[in-house]
């Protein structure tokens, strides 16, 4: 007892003293931490600091591991450890103690423990598993603070795999009486949604409850989730538009409690969140947009320009106005707003104005014209980021007329830029513009030279590759090609004659290739001169061994004259003893080919680079060597993944050789792999940069995409013309409107009158920059100019990621074209939702009250009445898609009724479904590129009838493109219905059940039918490269493995088997490497499945992977069937 009292007495004052007074810096400075900090500030050198900290750390280490240390002391120690870590010294020994503190301490100590854990540990740290129980306990605590802390830490770091353990409790907290807990719980769920979306799928309706929470804070928190959800699928949340608008109205109208105000602006964060959501909802949707016009107008009106926070809201508002379906009145106001931003003397606002301009300029080039003088000013702005943003803006308005000026400006910036990311980004953009709009060959080559020399070696590899491809594949006219190549050769020769040591390696490689291929075009050039120039590269200190290989290859191509051979021989000799195996190989090639001129002309005919080279990828010419080695006792080669697989199998406990899930070690490794794309892209080096860029690229793509669609085909183009006219009227504005210039310039210290000379220059610049904008219609901005179409011919065929990025408008427009061509598909793309709903609602009204058991009810019903099904579809569909016809004459006659747009595709046999005296129902399915269409033929052999058909399935989404469910079928004719099918959930076979009700001569009758089709009808070949395959493979989570029988084929059982599979299941064989085969396919267009096959002990070991659950299993079943049948 006395012990307890003593403890109480000693603990009380410390509890009271340390934390009772907020902001007590003086007290803490007496603490050990204070001593440490003061100690550090007194030091003079980095070395001393290091010594002190090391000393400190060892003393902390000693104390934390001592059993006598109380939790109170531990708390103090942790704070010190955190401080040491912040200074950059590792204190990993304290991690486990931080977890312990969170576990065992009282509230205050716990709090420090949690803080230390969240600062020390990474999301992937294994120690985090030890925290799960603590969090679980605290979540269930009755102490609010503990619950709060637990929720905070869950939001900060929590192992992804353990989310299911706490999810129910976090969910429960959504109903907590305290709003702070509800708010935190919502944010925690938001976090879960971000890192593991499928885990929280089932609680979407609870989010709605959070949205309707009486506490505005909880509602605000729920908007984070909604923003995310709507970003992914706006269609599903259109019904909430009115609610969001109402909320925004209330907020703008000041209906929220005062304490949500920030500098007397009502809940700005909430407003901005709502504006973002609205812009997503209103995109491409006139009806939804109309709902929000009023509140947007109000927001624009209410936000007075007086404080940063209102500017932030205005900016978001403007973006929203330009994203949703346009309304001229609002656009006008938004344009004024942008003007205010751009002309503001505050740099931050100017920057934001430029950003807004960049966002809207493609829709409204007039705006850029209005502000052209400001834009010119910004080009020379002292702040780099303003310059950068201006270039971004110019990049968006580039056309064939202003390209030279804009590219010049961008190159100027590149020359001064020190930031790698910017350099890579800008170099890519310049290359893109050069390819698109190059006015002539000379300019193109010179610009690309600048790109190569400035972009250096960090540049994305696609740029030099694309450039070389462009050169080699050429354009339509031979003569033009020749000129371009010749110009390149000339320019490179002169570069090499200058100082090549300053050129980046990539550029040198490009030069080598071009000289090797095309220097023969220059008649007066002796190859020996070129060889000497190339040889000089070999001797340069900075040349990488990669570059040297390029040089040697180029030399090999050039050494066909007597004198050249001697130079080549010399070089070859030097490098044939190089340590670098690649170099040695190249040197050997050079040596042999230069000696034997006949062989040389056979292997490397001049100008023959266009012929495709056949590569023996299976390396079959090495078979002899391999078998020799094997017979000499060498172990057979196992590829990397197989070795890993075997390794993990030997580690894992599972005795099943091929289970459904991966062995533990591989799965955990693949999880980390999968996470990497979500990481902040900070890893340095080439690969890091390229991923960076692809992220960036995709973001630009998104923007362009949005822009295009808003102003897309029906709605806005009509309205757009007047805008363009205005733009034309305003052409002379750079020369004419001094008022405007005055506005533009007033924000700067320089005035136009003070510097007429400079001003004239600027005006000239303006007219050259914006010239194309006004005279040419803005359509040119969105479409490719003639020249690019020609230039990029080669590139487009190759469809590199670069190309896709550079040209989103084209790809999307061609997609649109496709849609338009295909009447059926276009209709499908109309609101799918409603039509599905329809099909699901009908049966309810008909007979069965419960929608869920509909299908079953009908099936069983069908079975009893099933006699009128003449052929059981089961017999047909299994195994093969298109079995031999039994009823040929009927089939033929019905085939003629196939809709014209489907006649180009293969269709299955037409199966009779059901019939009675007057009606005959048959069906077949047609496989188009991105859907499967069920075609139902109704043959009416008596008089006119009104009929109605419903088709539904649990696993398939059935869309009926026709408007009215009831249709009249005239007597003695055939009516055709189409239903497009998409897969909701993969299954081996899909069954569709249908009901036909018809009224003829006043009587109502109905029939049931069913139709079965295999998964294979939905499988399409997926064309991917081996690299893409590799990266996809790692990203997919669902997999299955099985051994299949190999076909008995003497020669190449693997390729024979794969070909059989390919034929039956329409798969795509990516590559066959030795005993392994890579196969890819996708479920319709968007759900890929990869298959990895390996011949192993006379059987075919197959491993399927897909992001879609069940798909691998179902596909495997079909593979099995296909091979058994064979």
């Amino acid at each position: 007892m006395s012990d307890v009292v003593e403890k109480t007495l000693t603990a009380l004052p410390s509890l009271l003293s340390l934390d009772s007074q907020p902001g007590s810096a003086k007290l803490s400075s007496n603490s050990k931490l204070g001593n440490l900090i003061r100690g550090i500030t007194e030091l003079t050198s980095k070395h001393e600091e290091e010594k002190l900290i090391q000393h400190e750390l060892s003393s902390i280490k000693e104390q934390v591991s001592s059993p006598n240390t109380t939790m109170r002391q531990m708390r103090e120690l942790m704070v010190r450890a955190v401080y040491c870590e912040m200074l950059g010294y590792e204190a990993s020994f304290s991690y486990i103690h931080a977890i312990k503190l969170a576990q065992q301490g009282n509230v205050l100590e716990k709090r420090v423990g949690y803080l230390a854990v969240s600062l020390f540990l990474n999301e992937n740290h294994e120690l985090l598993l030890l925290l799960v129980n603590t969090v679980l306990k605290d979540l269930q605590s009755t102490n609010l603070i503990e619950v709060c802390m637990a929720l905070t830490v869950v939001c900060q770091i929590f192992p992804k795999d353990m989310i299911p353990a706490i999810l129910p409790i976090v969910e429960e907290k959504l109903n907590h009486p305290k709003e702070i807990i509800r708010r935190k719980a919502v944010l925690a769920l938001h976090k879960f949604y971000l890192i593991a979306p499928n885990q929280v799928q089932h609680i979407h309706n609870k989010f709605r409850k959070a949205l309707c929470d009486k506490d505005p804070g909880v509602m605000t928190a729920s908007l984070h989730i909604y923003l995310q959800l709507i970003q992914e699928n706006a269609e599903a949340y259109k019904d909430l538009t009115a609610s969001f608008v109402t909320i925004l109205k209330q907020v703008v109208g000041g209906k929220l409690p005062m304490d949500f105000n920030y500098h007397s602006v009502p809940a700005p964060w909430l407003q901005i969140q709502l504006l973002r959501i609205l812009s997503l909802l209103g995109k491409n949707d006139q009806r939804t947009s109309e709902v929000m016009y009023e509140v947007l107008d109000e927001s624009l009106r209410r936000a007075e320009m007086n404080h940063n926070i209102t500017y932030a809201i205005l900016y978001e508002c403007v973006k929203c106005v330009y994203t949703i379906h346009p309304k001229s009145e609002l656009l006008e106001k938004a344009a004024t707003c942008i003007g205010n931003f751009v002309l503001s003397p505050k740099i931050n606002l100017k920057y934001l104005g430029l950003k807004a301009l960049t966002y809207v300029v493609q829709q409204d080039p007039k705006l850029a014209l209005q502000h052209q003088m400001t834009i010119i000013e910004c080009l020379d702005h002292s702040d780099v980021i303003i310059k950068r943003e201006t270039l971004e803006l110019l990049f968006r308005i580039t056309n064939a007329q202003n390209v030279t000026v804009i590219v010049e400006k961008m190159l100027d910036f590149l020359r001064l830029s020190k930031d790698d990311h910017t350099t890579v980004d800008l170099a890519g953009k310049v290359a893109e513009l050069a390819e698109k709009y190059a006015p002539d060959n000379e300019w193109f080559i010179q610009t690309m030279n600048a790109v190569f020399s400035l972009g250096g070696d960090m540049m994305q590899p696609e740029i030099p590759n694309g450039f070389l491809k462009l050169l080699s594949e050429g354009f339509d006219s031979e003569e033009e090609d020749r000129k371009l190549r010749l110009f390149a050769v000339n320019s490179y020769i002169s570069l090499l004659q200058g100082d090549p040591s300053k050129l980046p390696q990539r550029f040198l490689q490009v030069i080598c290739w071009v000289l090797g291929e095309y220097s023969y075009l220059k008649d007066d050039l002796d190859p020996v001169v070129v060889l000497r120039l190339l040889a000089q590269l070999l001797d340069m200190k900075g040349s990488s061994s990669d570059t040297k290989s390029w040089v040697l290859v180029a030399m090999t191509k050039l050494c066909w004259s007597e004198t050249a051979v001697s130079v080549a021989q010399q070089v070859a000799e030097t490098y044939s003893s190089s340590f670098d195996t690649t170099l040695r190989q190249r040197a050997q090639e050079l040596q042999h080919l230069s000696r034997d001129s006949q062989l040389h002309s056979r292997v490397l005919p001049p100008g023959g680079s266009l012929e495709p080279v056949e590569v023996d990828s299976s390396l079959s010419f090495l078979d002899g060597f391999v078998s020799e080695a094997l017979s000499a006792g060498a172990a057979p080669y196992k590829p990397l993944h197989q070795r890993q697989e075997e390794l993990s199998r030997s580690k894992a406990l599972s005795l099943e050789p091929y289970g459904l899930s991966l062995p533990i070690s591989t799965s955990s490794c693949s999880i980390t792999d999968r996470q990497s794309p979500t990481l902040l892209s900070t890893s340095s080096g080439l690969s890091g940069d390229s991923t960076d860029f692809s992220h960036r690229g995709s973001s630009t793509t998104l923007k362009l995409d949005g822009v295009r669609r808003v102003w897309g085909r029906e709605g806005y183009l009509a309205q757009k013309e007047p805008v363009e006219e205005v733009a034309q009227v305003e052409i002379p504005s750079p020369l004419r409107s001094p008022g405007q210039q005055g506005d533009a310039d007033s924000c700067h210290s320089r005035t136009p009158t003070a510097n007429p000379e400079g001003d004239r220059e600027k005006q000239q610049l303006a007219s050259s920059l914006f010239g194309g904008l006004s005279s040419q219609s803005s359509v040119c901005l969105m479409e490719k100019s003639e020249r690019f179409g020609r230039k990029a011919k080669g590139q487009r065929a190759s469809s590199t990621p670069n190309e896709q990025r550079s040209d989103p408008s084209v790809s999307s427009s061609s997609a649109v074209d496709n849609l338009l061509c295909n009447n059926l598909l276009e209709e499908n793309s109309e609101p799918i939702d409603s039509s599905t709903k329809q099909t699901f609602q009908h049966p309810q009204s008909l007979r069965v009250p419960n929608g869920a058991c509909d299908a079953e009810a009908i099936i069983s019903d069908d079975d009893t009445k099933g006699r009128n099904r003449p052929v059981s579809p089961e017999e047909h569909v299994e195994g093969d898609d298109f079995p031999p016809c039994e009823d040929k004459s009927k089939d033929l006659s019905l085939t003629a009724h196939l809709p014209a747009e489907l006649s180009g595709f293969s269709h299955s046999e037409i199966i009779p479904l059901c019939s009675n005296r007057s009606l005959d129902l048959s069906a077949c399915h047609v496989q188009t590129d991105n859907t499967v269409v069920l075609v139902v033929f109704v043959t009416n052999s008596s008089e006119d009838a009104n009929l109605q058909i419903q088709v539904l399935s649990e696993e398939l989404e059935v869309c009926c493109p026709c408007e009215s469910p009831v249709e009249e079928v005239r007597g003695h004719s055939v009516s055709v219905r189409q239903y497009s099918l998409t897969v909701k959930r993969p299954l081996v076979h899909f069954e569709l059940v249908g009901r036909l009700s018809y009224s003829a001569a006043g009587t109502l009758q109905s029939m049931q039918f069913s139709y079965k089709l295999p998964l294979t009808s939905f499988i399409r070949p997926l064309t991917v490269s081996t690299e893409e395959y590799g990266s996809m493979w790692l990203a997919f989570s669902h997999d299955t493995k099985q051994n299949l029988t190999l076909m008995k084929e003497e020669q190449e059982p693997l390729s024979a088997t794969l070909n059989a599979l390919k034929k039956k299941l329409s798969l795509h064989v990516v590559e066959i490497i030795g005993v392994e085969g890579l196969v890819a396919c996708s479920l319709l267009q968007d759900q890929p499945c990869l298959m990895h096959c390996r011949v192993h002990a006379g059987r075919l070991a197959v491993w399927l992977r897909s992001p879609v659950a069940d798909l691998p299993d179902c596909l495997l079943y079909h593979c099995q069937r296909a091979l058994q049948e064979h």
């Binding site: 500017y311 932030a312 934001l352 902040l680 900070t682 890893s683």
Partner: protein, 154 residues
Amino acid sequence: MINFLLLFSRQGKLRLQKWFTPLSEREKKKVIRDMTMSVLARPPRTSNFLQWRDLKIVYKRYASLYFCVGLEEKDNELLALEMIHRYVELLDKYFGNVCELDIIFNFEKAYFILDEFLMGGEILETSKFAVGGSVEEADTLQETMEEYMSKPAY
């Protein structure tokens, strides 16, 4: 979403770091180094924004302390600036005329306030929290005391 928040002094000494995306230690160090270097090198009278890799950097100086936030491309820079300001207001309210020393010596408190303000890279609380932070602090103490009193054998 905010990716990180850093507080550092004019000498480039880190005072507080908060990461909302998982990064390795090495990457964090690189970010910190790059941020201090590029922010401190900014000439006067320039904007408060920077581009760094694919992130937008928003920074603001309060006396001797720089507040620096890394944002994603789609985020609103001005809003982030106000977010920083709000955080400073909070610190000011809690410490009472806050200065760099307060944050150095009580950095864990600064973290606690931040945790109540931002959660998972999003603003948690835009209202009341000015009082909220300190209220909770007091609450904590009270609760602890209650717990302490009710379970003296602890």
